[in-house]
């Protein structure tokens, strides 16, 4: 066996202050197996007493080569891998992939598919924020919220299970539309969530918003400003908490989300508490979108009828020769989009999520790149953490809501 090679102190010289080499400050390793790092994140800390002088995030422990794997599969098969990345926003991962494929092939999903996509991705955003609302205060010692938020998150996962058969790895959204139509119970379940959640959110707020212990740990901690955010490409609630109302849903709308009425919550402080308030309000806005989408949910087909790319419905395969041929060709060969590259983006609970997709005219994507929000967020972590205590670092990592599967891919 070969010795495992590690980064040496010398490799990190540019990151550490000269005091680390004279022994004045302590270099300490945190992670990768630490419950509050939300996955497998390793942070190397240079400490002066308990104050962070430098902080070096080390990622890559969850790198699974998903991009490489997708390049070896046809477009339909590659899709299954997408929801393994940001497992808290699986619906969105698939959506952005499908948007890119649709842009490449020129497919146009019908309005019903668009509306259901919006409902499901917004539900997904709420469940991601609910988990965040549970775990982020838990890092600061407030365990009770977690128990409540998981209860409501379960209701949303039930909806996903109803429509797709899987709670998290759904693969429900497909290029050109959806896998199949939603069952009759769908609307009732979603309306139940819309009825229950606003009341429950008041309960969470009663636990945290004016809790002096929580305020103490969050106000003025992990500050960042708009200019730094843009330079370091930090998006999502972290950017909006600095006062900039940038949201891909408003700026570059997708799936007809522009026809719904919603606001972009912002805050100006840019600290952990501001992010908390922005995320809470975002959940309310997501519920507004879902309600409007449900109220005017159109009837009609749920898939584009270009059977060269979209599989024909099961009912047609038994009676139509062409449908059978299309089905056979699609699942053995796949489809061949034109040569070219596209870039599609959506707003994930963590920020802008994009897919760069290049095709060379074969049934497999030639190059696929996920532009994920967690990577720039983690890159900017040292800027937020410097000068704070180690205990605050835990709160900051929690507040930017990173998913390491999203960062490492």
């Amino acid at each position: 066996m070969r010795e495992i090679q590690e980064f040496t102190l010398e490799d990190l010289r540019t990151h550490l202050s000269p005091r680390a080499f004279t022994g004045e400050t302590v270099v300490l390793n945190m992670g990768p197996q630490h419950p509050s790092t939300h996955g497998v994140l390793r942070v190397i800390l240079e400490l002066d007493g308990e104050v962070i002088v430098n902080c070096i995030p080390d990622v890559g422990f969850l790198h699974t080569g998903i991009e490489k794997n997708m390049e070896a599969k046809t477009y339909q098969k590659a899709e299954v891998l997408t929801d393994r990345m940001d497992y808290m926003y699986a619906m969105g991962n698939i959506l952005v992939y499908c948007l890119a494929v649709e842009k490449l092939t020129g497919l146009k999903p019908p309005p019903r598919a668009d509306a259901i996509r919006v409902i499901l991705t917004e539900l997904s955003r709420i469940q991601s924020h609910l988990l965040w609302l549970g775990t982020s205060p838990m890092d600061l010692g407030a365990v009770s919220t977690f128990l409540y938020t998981m209860r409501e998150r379960e209701m949303i996962l039930d909806v996903f299970e109803l429509v797709s058969g899987a709670r998290m790895m759904t693969t429900y959204i497909r290029p050109g539309g959806l896998w199949r139509d939603v069952p009759a119970e769908f609307e009732g379940l979603v309306r139940e969530i819309l009825k229950v959640l606003p009341r429950r959110m008041l309960e969470y707020e009663a636990l945290l918003t004016k809790n002096p212990l929580y305020l103490d740990r969050t106000k003025g901690i992990g500050k960042i400003d708009t200019k730094t955010c843009l330079a370091w490409n930090v998006t999502g609630p972290t950017l909006r908490a600095t006062g900039m109302a940038h949201d891909v849903r408003k700026a570059n709308p997708y799936c007809g989300i522009e026809q719904y009425d919603f606001d972009i919550p912002t805050h100006t402080d840019g600290d952990i508490y501001a992010r908390y308030l922005v995320r809470l309000e975002e959940m309310r806005q997501s519920m507004r979108i879902i309600e409007q989408a449900l109220n005017k949910l159109p009837y009609g087909p749920i898939r584009d009828n270009n059977y060269k790319i979209v599989p024909p419905p099961r009912s047609e395969i038994g009676v139509s020769m062409e449908a059978l041929i299309h089905h056979f060709k699609l699942w053995t060969e796949g489809f061949t989009p034109p040569v070219g590259s596209v870039y599609a983006t959506i707003e994930s609970p963590r920020g802008e999520m994009g897919v760069f997709l290049e095709s060379n005219g074969t049934p497999k994507p030639y190059r696929i790149h996920y532009r994920t929000p967690s990577l720039p967020l983690l890159q900017a972590l040292p800027l937020m953490a410097k000068g704070h205590l180690v205990a605050d670092l835990i709160g900051i990592i929690g507040s930017i809501d990173i998913v390491l599967g999203d960062c490492d891919r």
């Binding site: 980064f7 080569g65 370091w232 994009g354 760069f356 030639y366 990577l375 890159q379």
Partner: protein, 170 residues
């Protein structure tokens, strides 16, 4: 082409002799690789492209001129438009100037491209591997890097395959 993109595209294509192409409403500029930071600085300072939305590369193996394309996708939060910029890179061990000086967020993305594609970034502040372990050999996203299967050996081609198998202790 989007009206808001026109001035930027015109200026860059004239000044740097860039090739403009359009596909599905997306504008792509093919610039000379040595001008990448100059182009980025103009886009940022004169045309409000304040975010480097994505940075990645594409490998065109077995072709060697160009073997790689560096892909920069700029975004303007004011005009809400994307602009793709590509820089072709020749040869198997290419290098290009780092974008870090213009957009600090390029730091980790360039580390990722170095790690997975083996494209060197000149005067990058911290060019270490980021996704793979520090002692990894090879650059996985290159097209000549196998996905990880092992070739099946039969009696008639046993020696032939054995000869190209990686040797040494692991």
């Amino acid at each position: 082409m989007n009206e808001l993109l026109k001035p930027a595209v015109e200026k860059i294509s004239k000044k740097f002799n860039a090739k403009v192409s359009e596909f599905r409403d997306e504008v792509t500029l093919l610039i000379p690789p040595e001008e990448n930071t100059a182009v980025a600085a103009i886009l940022r300072d004169e045309f409000d492209f304040d975010m480097l939305s994505a940075l990645t590369a594409v490998d065109y193996y077995p072709q060697t001129t160009p073997r790689f394309h560096m892909v920069y996708i700029f975004y303007s939060t004011k005009n809400k438009v994307y602009l793709n910029v590509r820089a072709p890179l020749n040869g198997n061990e290419p290098s290009i100037k780092t974008m870090e000086t213009v957009y600090p967020s390029a730091n980790w993305r360039e580390r990722e491209v170095w790690d997975l594609f083996g494209i060197k970034f000149e005067s990058h502040s911290d060019l270490r591997r980021i996704m793979m372990p520090p002692d990894w050999v090879g650059h996985p996203l290159r097209k000549d890097y196998p996905l990880g299967w092992e070739e099946v050996q039969f009696t008639f081609n046993f020696d032939e395959i054995d000869a190209r198998k990686p040797k040494g202790e692991i």
